[in-house]
Homo-oligomer: 495 residues x 2
């Protein structure tokens, strides 16, 4: 039996060795910053917009680039065929392959699987970007470009974390797997089936799944333990067989736009209340614990207002605002396809107009029920108008919310990693956005999941001038390096 | 003193000579049909979209082409500088020059001035065109292309009418002037001032103004004696300083789209009734004479419905329908700029959205008053929402309606020309669309105006697959030839 001083001595040696290794890794990361930025530049240059079918070749190219990068690092890499998607007109389009990779297969170590995506939201210079969205531009340490923060830099940070261990000839503390997809921004088409298919193969030895597809709430690092889901709807009103001159025909036909505006206006009250019957009733009530947690979170209402650039938020106190950001549903009307949307004037009666709107999902809402509630409601509202036009409501995305246990060892390891890199405790936050795959991973594989963001609170995801700061990108890489180390200490039995 | 038989004989000879000349002209036109189509092809190929500032160079080129064509025919041609337009951002952009031309200056003859425009509405293949909108395509005798009917073919038909007289060495029965502009589709910016400036020069010897910027109501030729005006509005709601991710921010901000949809929905009732207070009260009541006239017009409700492709019109009897097409106001919502309008899904909260809508004007509405009624109403509706967003309502086009006297000699000459070419009486119709310049010509120059359309009832102006048929283009050219002859008989004193 070992006596206490000897044990302490051994522990000290281990601790010193580990601390030393970390500093080596930090030095490596700092000295490779420019290379990291250049690789991000190459990735951002690929217009991998998954919502635009015309850009599909770029998306395929993007997946190849990811695979190549991982192959060069010696990973066991596969490009997994996930089939085709059916377009509204019945045509079939090849989905971008999913990249899987594996580094290490030591059965005595934990195995983590990092999920990320390399497709992006649409972006055009004319939308109001200050720089070309597909040309990564460094302005005062911020790297502007579509997909920079969502989600290309975080994916690269994970890859670079593994690479740092490799290039310093340090053994990886855990086995690392990657699942990188290219359809996240449009609902991860095909990924659910792929996960299900590989549940007992690729995912069988995975203990933990790590997702870094979100952002901090402030300048303080954060761990995310919940996300909202999303039900995305198309409401199409079709009238004349083609667009009509509003002078020549105006006054003789009930215009589809009038009908569409009319039904959209019944979705939300002026103060933002959802008017679709049954939606709000399903929401889990706010608990005292949540109230307390929100109350303690570092969140400055004024800086949030300034960031958005508005004079008044929907709620004037922090807890209400955070609750409505994270754990209450909301409706957004994104736009209308088929109507006149260019600058200038056009005197047209659009023949077919399709509104796009979505309802964020929270526990205990059920997308299948929401679909029925919304469609039933809109059809009944439309019927009252007695219009000769035709309404078609479809739900094109139905993603569930996700919620984790913050006392899980995964989160404890996360807190330790944040402490090591940033010398502070992370905020425990939720995410208003949707990472549907978290819920799928949980439901299908039964594995525990942690969300560990490195994106800044002001990165402008999905909007103009998306960016990630060099600070978040580089320190984020260090965080991931530290996390691979911390997560190795979780006993395999805790799975 | 001449005796009766001699007089009759002389009259017979004159009549025979004239009839012979007309048949020569008809033969000339028929044998030049392919050249007419080719010239139209050249003109349609120019993307002279006046609403898109990026196409302005094309518009300038179009005006040069018109001037060159008229110069080659020996006309006295000028390209009149009408200054600049100010864009919403304060930038200045050169307006397309106005082409004026003169053929003949015989003081004993009447002088007519033909007005037309060669700018077009926007058109993109993706909007649902079956053919490239800027490549004139002949399908079964219909010539498809943007601007084919509105208004390039009618302008060319007038030019070819003059050219036919010239090339057959026949004296023009009247002096002919042209005023061809390039800003009609966006409100004839700069033309009013030009007409005012040249009232006592170019326009001083003009007796009659002829406009062929409209279409027939059915397969029967028509003369148009009235048009609706148009007040075109932008309603801009501005909130956050940039677009936001609807997941991340949804629930914390009052979204501009919600506000915009809310105020748009207060413009029109589901049955098409204008809800802006005061608008309907200004409209002149339908007279018994009008009722009788409409009752007699050849108009088939079923073929109108089929053409549009809808199951039910806003009114089920002919008189109500024609009245609402021609002499009642109507509101059309054309679209929204700044929101998501592409195919696919985007989870965005648009930061600034601008609705485009217009209200057709009829006697006795006053655009200045309508502007006040609409803006006051929308601001008051918006105020009730207590939104932190900002609303800005602007009227960007304010065009008055126009109405002519159908018993005027100009119209009698028109009836005679139609009779000669088509062997039938024309319908006397009004136009739901707007030709604001008619009203300006009337107000500024005091000249009498006739609208003599040659476009088909199903030409699809302002919509996809605009076309003119070879029949209307060619027979229309003959109609103009005949009209130049008929109008020469109006006594100069009737002006």
């Amino acid at each position: 039996m070992m006596n206490l001083p000897v044990l302490l001595c051994i522990l000290l040696v281990i601790s010193t060795v580990q601390a030393f290794q970390y500093m080596e890794l930090v030095k490596y990361v700092d000295s490779h910053q420019e290379q990291y930025v250049e690789t991000l530049r190459d990735w951002v240059a690929v217009e991998s917009d998954s919502s635009n079918i015309l850009k599909r070749p770029e998306l395929h190219r993007m997946m190849e680039m990811v695979a190549q990068k991982l192959r060069r690092m010696g990973g066991t890499v596969e490009l997994v065929d996930i089939g085709e998607q059916e377009l509204p007109d019945g045509q079939k389009l090849l989905l971008p392959k999913v990249v899987t990779a594996q580094f290490g297969a030591n059965q005595s170590k934990n195995t983590v699987c990092i999920y990320g995506h390399v497709d992006v939201q649409p972006a055009k210079l004319e939308d109001g970007w200050a720089t070309d969205p597909y040309n990564l531009t460094d302005i005062s340490g911020n790297l502007y470009g579509r997909g920079a923060s969502d989600n290309k830099a975080p994916v690269l940070a994970w890859i670079h974390a593994v690479e740092a261990y490799q290039n310093l000839n340090m053994e990886l503390p855990v086995n690392v797997k990657f699942v990188i997809e290219g359809m996240e921004e449009t609902g991860s088409n095909g990924l659910d089936a792929m996960i299900l298919a590989q549940r007992d193969t690729f995912f069988s030895d995975v203990e933990y799944i790590i997702i870094s597809d979100c952002g901090w709430l402030s300048r303080r690092p954060a761990l995310t333990y919940g996300t909202r889901g999303n039900c995305y709807f198309f409401a199409e009103v079709e009238g004349p067989k083609q667009d009509l001159h509003s002078g020549v025909y105006g006054g003789t036909v009930i215009e589809p736009m009038t009908d569409l505006i009319g039904i959209l206006d019944t979705l939300i009250s002026p103060s933002g209340k959802i008017l679709v019957p049954g939606i709000r009733e399903a929401v889990a009530p706010l608990t005292d614990e949540e109230w307390k947690l929100y109350q303690d979170i570092q969140f400055d209402m004024d800086s949030y207002k300034n960031k958005i650039g508005i004079s008044q938020l929907m709620y004037s106190n922090k807890v209400d605002l955070l609750a409505h950001m994270w754990r209450y549903p909301t409706v957004s009307i994104h736009g209308i396809e088929g109507a006149f949307s260019d600058p200038g004037t056009k005197t047209v009666i659009p023949a077919k107009v399709t509104a796009k709107f979505s309802i964020r999902q929270v526990p205990n809402m059920d997308p299948a029920l929401v679909k029925r509630q919304v469609t039933d409601y809109l059809y009944s509202v439309f019927a009252k108008r007695k219009s000769p036009n035709k309404l078609k409501v479809t739900m094109v995305i139905g993603a569930k919310p996700w919620l984790a246990e913050t006392e899980h060892p995964l989160y404890k390891a996360g807190k330790a990693a944040v402490k090591r890199v940033f010398d502070m405790d992370p905020d425990l936050i939720r995410e208003g956005g949707t990472i549907p795959i978290a819920r799928t991973f949980q439901d299908v594989t039964g594995k525990s999941i942690i969300m560990m963001p490195i994106g800044g609170f002001d990165d402008g995801l999905h909007s103009q001038n998306e960016k990630i700061s060099r600070y978040n990108y580089v320190e984020g890489t260090k965080l991931f390096i530290a996390y691979l180390y911390e997560v190795s200490f979780i006993k395999k039995t805790t799975v």
